[in-house]
Assembly symmetry: C2
Homo-oligomer: 541 residues x 2
């Protein structure tokens, strides 16, 4: 494909023969394909059976097929990315945005349940998949994997992708379910990456109780220090913007500073050997709680949508790349003699994923329901809600792919090893199958379980819970924009009732008191009126 373009350009007579030319062609192709994904994804919006992930996968597959034909079966992808590309450029915006857009009030009110699902659940899922694979893979004739590979597999396939379910759920009609699925997805991302990093860094070849203890300690310290770093950078950013009144002079500086400091938190964590994912996630939460309220309204709108856009582009990029890479013959060559192994392993993993999720969703829901007082019936997790939570975590997406690429590719020799080729192809099959098949089944299943839900959900709300409503009042040059936070819409009485019905809410209550008394005066936050451009008045709350 790229060769055709270059020959056209060469015949045009202006072509240079720089080494960079090929690279530019590939970037042009990627940019064009991403545009196509967005337009087609938008056109298929109405059907609701499709989503951007499936569209991007399909376009990637189609392009890979065309490239495969035009290059004479040599390769199916135009740009071969190093594994760090995913982790340094594509993953940070996705995770930061998850933290930035999380509906903090609901998140912290259901904190115990969400973290149980996200952290403990991911660990259970990891254990089931690792254990199951260790015992089932040899029966398929796959006997060349070591303990570390199995543990890595567990971590890779415990990272869920709940975007598909969130697009179908209605946040207004099933708020508890929505916040559970969203919150679990976010905590799950962070947990699985931290777990994966802890596994790849540790020498687990001869497992014993001392090493296991050390591993657990390492995992915990990684969690604590990463969180601390993320919160610190977020607070520093909020403090800087609040103290120096950045909005006074320029919106661009505020936006630049927020983007750069968010990214800085991620790379700093990587420099110190911590989990950048966890750091940038908490940095996102802190920034949306403090820094976002300290900037001008222009900056608020800009950062909100810029972060969402970066996350969106990164995600469709990953799915498209997976689609292209799925047809890479190099990787399939090594499993060619036994295609049964690859498909068998994928089947086993899909089964383990379903079992692994069932092993924690239903027990944790049961415990959560038992600890919830009977007077707050609306906060019990019904059985059909449990089934939805279970289903929502069956898809595997961008994070799994990024982890698998990090572990099993890199140098060419590494990809050539049979176990790496097998595991990459297996990952691709699982992601393709779960995204396409499970993804397409999601809408019918949710409609079956919750027949009352409205058929059309506003996706801008699905992807960014804290919605900014912007009706155009009047017309012409002056348009009035109303910024409204739905998170603050509940009245105080229901808050008080909530408070005493659930221990988590007591924590939430004390946190809010602490926040109001100490944090907000120092770091700003909602209620802090920033320097207003134009009127030049400073109001401090």
């Amino acid at each position: 494909m790229s060769y055709d373009v270059s020959s056209i350009a060469a015949s045009y007579g202006l072509m240079t023969s720089d080494p960079e030319t090929d690279f530019v062609h590939h970037i042009a192709l990627f940019a064009a394909l991403l545009c196509a994904c967005i337009v087609i994804g938008h056109l298929l919006e109405e059907s609701r059976w499709m989503n951007e992930s499936i569209t991007a996968l399909a376009i990637g597959l189609g392009t890979g097929f065309v490239i495969l034909l035009t290059s004479g079966g040599k390769s199916s992808h135009v740009l071969e990315f190093k594994q760090e590309f995913f982790f340094i450029y594509l993953l940070p915006p996705i995770i930061f945005n998850a933290g930035f857009q999380v509906k903090k009030k609901q998140f912290f009110q259901n904190f115990t349940t969400i973290t149980s699902f996200g952290a403990i659940g991911t660990l259970i899922s990891f254990a089931v998949i690792s254990f199951g694979a260790t015992h089932l893979f040899p029966k398929l004739g796959i006997d060349y994997l070591d303990t570390k590979d199995y543990l890595a597999l567990g971590a890779i396939f415990s990272a869920t992708d709940s975007v598909c379910t969130l697009q179908v759920l209605n946040q207004e009609e099933t708020p508890l379910l929505y916040s559970l699925v969203f919150g679990e997805g976010v905590v799950n991302d962070a947990t699985s990456v931290v777990l994966f990093n802890a596994i790849t860094k540790f020498d687990l070849s001869d497992m014993n109780s001392v090493i296991a203890l050390k591993f657990a300690g390492n995992f915990l310290s990684l969690f604590v220090f990463s969180t601390f770093l993320g919160v610190s950078v977020g607070l520093l950013c909020s403090f800087t913007i609040r103290t120096l009144y950045f909005g006074r002079n320029s919106t661009d500086r505020e936006v630049s500073l927020m983007i750069l400091m968010a990214y800085l938190s991620y790379v700093l964590a990587e420099v110190f050997g911590l989990s950048g994912i966890l750091t940038v996630f908490f940095c996102g939460i802190v920034m949306s709680h403090y820094a976002w309220h300290n900037v001008t309204i222009n900056s608020q709108v800009t950062t909100k949508h810029t972060f969402a856009t970066m996350s969106f582009i990164s995600e469709i990029f990953i799915f498209m790349y997976v689609g292209m890479d799925a047809l890479d013959l190099e990787k399939w060559k090594f499993v060619n003699d036994s295609p049964r192994k690859s498909f068998g392993a994928s089947g086993v993993l899909l089964g383990l994923i379903m079992v692994g999720r069932a092993c924690f969703v239903f027990p944790i829901s049961l415990i959560s329901n038992l600890t919830t007082k009977s007077n707050s019936n609306s906060n019990k997790i019904e059985f059909k809600q449990q089934v939805t939570v279970w289903w929502s975590g069956l898809m595997r997406g961008a994070v799994s792919v990024a982890l698998a690429y990090k572990k099993f590719t890199g140098s060419d020799e590494q990809t050539m090893q049979p176990e790496n080729a097998l595991l990459i192809t297996t990952t691709i099959i699982v992601v393709l199958f779960s995204t396409v098949v499970f993804g397409l089944l999601t809408k019918p299943i949710v409609k079956f379980l919750f027949p009352g839900s409205s058929s059309h959900v506003d996706e801008s709300q699905a992807s960014s819970p804290k919605s900014i409503m912007m009706p155009l009042i009047g017309s012409g040059d002056r348009n009035v924009v109303v910024v409204e936070e739905t998170g603050g819409g509940e009245d105080e009485t229901s808050n008080l009732k909530w408070l005493f019905s659930n221990p988590t809410n007591t924590i939430h209550y004390y946190w809010r008191k602490f926040d109001d008394a100490f944090m907000r005066p120092l770091f700003g936050g909602r209620g802090f009126v920033s320097y207003v451009t134009g009127t030049r008045e400073v109001a401090l709350v």
Copy 2:
């Protein structure tokens, strides 16, 4: 520096020895330095003697010095970028934003004068510098440059950087002067890059009239085709967004599509051997004229500030890199035996820059004044305005650096050649000197020429002419944002007077008629009311 950080991290016990680690350190350092630039630049805002460019240069120099000391004099910069890095990632946002933020009405009303300054002026400047350098460099003992090098030098040093002057000028008090300086800067960027590309692509070693004619034809066709491509992509984007009502579902998709299509226009131009800079500039103009009015208000605010932010970050990044690179001993080693040559060449070039500008600013102003009818006295360019225009183009910045890096670096062997080392060091000296010395003198000079100007200029307006005023009305959860375009603020009577006083305005008048009759119904634009989220009503004008 980076070694200290890694040793700390290593002692922390969690350090990996991946090859990517060093890279992450460098990115962390760059992110931290960029944050520092923004904060310090903001703090020095009040002084007005300083600006971000000088701050970034100073921080770059300081960091380079520290790295030089800690690495034992080995190197002064942490990341060595290939030349294409500037052209593929850093320059497109800067030029696109210039096109996107240009005040189209004033730009097209003064179209003849602005393009005379920007295009013809740049060519004159290029001729003076090339010719002067060809004759004066040998007298300094620099005899190893060929014709192509001299022509490239002319193109490199005809690219101006007028940001510094724009920060000091007041758009309300001297609208003509402001639009002249801004417009010239924008057209100049595009012209010098096109010129540079035409020179490097052509074999100019044996110059004769046929080759000169061919060169001129190539330059013109490059100009025409690049503009055409940029306009086409911009129109395609506007048409797509207008026809498919993207805002209906998601702001993020609109923003993504605008960013990706803008970038696509740039890389497509590069693929076809055209000038990406010119393409992306016109794509920016068309997008701000049509597409920007077709999207939701959220997207309008977001794109406007996102493009400005990307441009801002790219610019300070380039200045910081120049600061770091200035202390790179490798490059200085080759001019070490004769430092006189480097400084002599820089002096000669600075002189030629001043002469070259004088050669076109005053004559073109004279011609412009003669063709302007006497009844519109306010549109004559007074002598002190001419001096300001002349002064505003003396600074050399990001574009010059990017061009010089493209021409004279790349492979290590190339940088080692004495002529390349000489020209890179000369470029660095000219950029450092003109940015710091001329930059610091700008405010006193403008104040001396225009004593009435207010001392404090709103920078958000300076960097983005079409300002969006956002007073906060009331407080609490509902904030009202007023979007107002100052570009439409003039009344119709003054427009009509304008119209017949200047031939350009007649062109502008017919263009507006054509625009209203054919273009807007097809591609949207101001007055097109996009799909409103929340109310779900579609109104078409």
